[in-house]
Symmetry: C2
Subunit: 505 residues, 2 copies
Amino acid sequence: MAIDQEKPELPEQQVLAPISISSESPEPLYRQLRLALEHQIHAGTIVQGLPLPSSRELSRELGLSRNTVNAALQELLASGLIESHARRGYFVNSQLLGRQPPAQEGTSRNYRPLDLRRHIKSWVAADSPEITKISNWRDYPYPFVAGQVEESDFPRLAWARALRDSLDPPHLHFALRDSVDEDDPYLVEMLCQRVLPARGIIAAPENILITAGSQQGLDLLAQTIMNDETTVAVEDPGYVDARHTFARTGASVLALPVDAQGVVPPDSFNGIDAFYLTPSHHSPTNVTLSASRRRSILDATASSGTIIIEDDYDSEFRYRGKPTPALKALTNSAHVVYLGSFTKFLAPGLRMGYVVADPQLVEVLRSQRRYRIRHIAGHPQRAMALMIDSGQYQRTISRRRTQLQRKWSKLTESLDAHLSWKVNAPPGGVTVWIKGPAQLDCRLLMQRCLRQGVVIERGDVFFSNSSAHRNYFRLGFAAINVNAIDPGVRRLATVLNDMGYLELD
Amino acid sequence: MAIDQEKPELPEQQVLAPISISSESPEPLYRQLRLALEHQIHAGTIVQGLPLPSSRELSRELGLSRNTVNAALQELLASGLIESHARRGYFVNSQLLGRQPPAQEGTSRNYRPLDLRRHIKSWVAADSPEITKISNWRDYPYPFVAGQVEESDFPRLAWARALRDSLDPPHLHFALRDSVDEDDPYLVEMLCQRVLPARGIIAAPENILITAGSQQGLDLLAQTIMNDETTVAVEDPGYVDARHTFARTGASVLALPVDAQGVVPPDSFNGIDAFYLTPSHHSPTNVTLSASRRRSILDATASSGTIIIEDDYDSEFRYRGKPTPALKALTNSAHVVYLGSFTKFLAPGLRMGYVVADPQLVEVLRSQRRYRIRHIAGHPQRAMALMIDSGQYQRTISRRRTQLQRKWSKLTESLDAHLSWKVNAPPGGVTVWIKGPAQLDCRLLMQRCLRQGVVIERGDVFFSNSSAHRNYFRLGFAAINVNAIDPGVRRLATVLNDMGYLELD
């Protein structure tokens, strides 16, 4: 993955998503506008480096009086969400973005403000952008979003039945009890006997901790093994939330480049305490880490005493060839901590994952977890164990794999047909990573696409140096209906063509 | 609540719970014994300050050879769980208790030990005992445990139906989606409109954060507003896990005494950054904080800028008179952070609670939560919203209150009939707190009771100075069947009588 050092120029004009203001709403017009702008700012559809349209332009475009528009802008200014730059116009206040406190006025009258500056010890670091998702992606006809699933695919009857069965004895006790820091022994057993062997991993119950999604595994681990004296290596580009989770402990994050063989290991792991990677298919590019790199990374980290954090997300989804075994499956991998998820492919909102690690480390993570959330809810743990034991879980994975494979083929064919660049998507995962010509600005592309009903994800935020990588974007294909893929790509190609990008490169 | 400064003398002999060793088990005899002892050590039924029975005694009592007994003790020694003190015998290693790493031998052969000392930054502080629960309480005929519920009381059909209904549109989307850091808006709405008003609290959606049980609320708050420069006041006796959660941030914990009016406020709150309390009914004594103390605490903390953390657990359960409104319900309570639970009374294993606070603080907590677990599972959130909207939730609370009231009456009557001391249990909650004569050792009482099938909870651990308060214990009545209460109290009285305690005081 070559890195473009040339900083792409920003487009000159901010393009807003459509705003509809109704004079029949009980809400005042200025307030409707303010809320619409707030929404777009939080949704990330407004390019931060560009000025907002002027009040004159907004007034003309929306058919509103200048007073109305100014009232909305004044409120946004007062809330700190936008800033006025002399002679350049209004800009989004990027320091506040993502963590903007909601307006207090009008809604919670019995609260008087608290002097939070005195009390709050840890504001979120603002120097690295967070992934901002468009939460109303379902309202768009072509939602190429990542991390969501098509709802009609969900095995509703089987899951409802497993939940209901978990409320009968002998399961009921485990569904309802306060287990303090324990996991459901049935789920742990099913994980060891049925799920992990499929990834080549031999584990005993004391190697397992059940977590609220793999994010909790990441966090417990980060809080346990990292502090401001720790150096943790990550992939660049890489999974943004992992980087954030590590950085919040004060750890130094070392970004390692990624090429067609996966992450490029450093000459030496000495001084690197932990190494987070996604070997099955790299996030976000989907590249599989080559066998020789795996071996050399395992050997080098074993001798340097570096802990490997293997995030094996969506490893079930490979559409050609054999799945590669997990790093944790190779011998002498005691220093590998493995993070997996039961639910990411099934429904990310179910939030159930696990950690496989050395028993002593598991006990420390378990103690951390006790004082964070005690334990994961017993009822879904028991239901998941029943799903696995009945084979329903495995059947659902197979079915999902077939569906995703069809979508992957359709998407890669459509991209080859409608885009002039070669995409070369590796056969796996639930997203396709695309590098556009150097001049492309993914933020502007995202905006323009949204106006055409196409949701794409910007790629720059996956890089430690976002501003040097504006020409990347990502298409998720798990949530979109297979029949919407080709028309969606056609619209994307039209937008790219209108912006002049298809002629380039 | 007078504090006995006199340190009670320890009984001289360690009494183990019954151990059954079978020569027909495939497990070697020594290993059966080792596991039985390990279990008792972790369950807390072995008094830490007393030596274990000698190998000669164990051998005679269990009918095992000295070699077998010694092999078991050697393994426990090797694992560090017990220590040998010259000429005094074997003692439980209290430093390791609660966090003992499980044995690695035999079960996870492919792992070689990791040098965790290099990596782990935060071991749990060992100076304050953790609450150790007996996890197999169901196996005892008289389980006076706290924090569990009687399983037959659970509204199984209603909960299963709400879960199933949540898998139909329009709910399905909210059950399955990755909402990143958002809560289910329907549940938040139900909380504001239906649940909180019953506690006198007016809140808007931006005041709410849904948590994985109130433990997560405590933890997010502690991680946000406490560090090693913070002083947090707590009740003494008080909720142990809150004290631990605060202490883990490095905060100084200031213990305030509790009397018949509830916690005794200090002369001044200056220098106290936060104050954690359980005003509805104090944990563990069930005392309700008096109206005049409420007012003076609210006023004093408002002027000192102290944040009040109000844990309103089980506030629904008051059996005589009117429930007192929450502190958060009083005016000028913007500095009160309110912690509540949807599920503690219903089934603690469901793990769903909430925080009500200043909107800005909620946003910081939300960002913390995003990097810990992202969000609470969507499916149970939606199901809980449906339960509340249909009125089923409120009906279940009413039914549960009636059941608990019957149990409370039965228990207090039985205690009055069979114990010679006056108990004076306040009419609320799900436990009765008992102060025995100064000579009573709750650890020994717990052991002896277990041998009679009666599970009680030791009371000393609720005090910041446990060793000066061995004469307290607690009986939970939510999990025990109402018909088992009187026979259970009779057995307890017999044990107390055998130990000579009923004659005292």
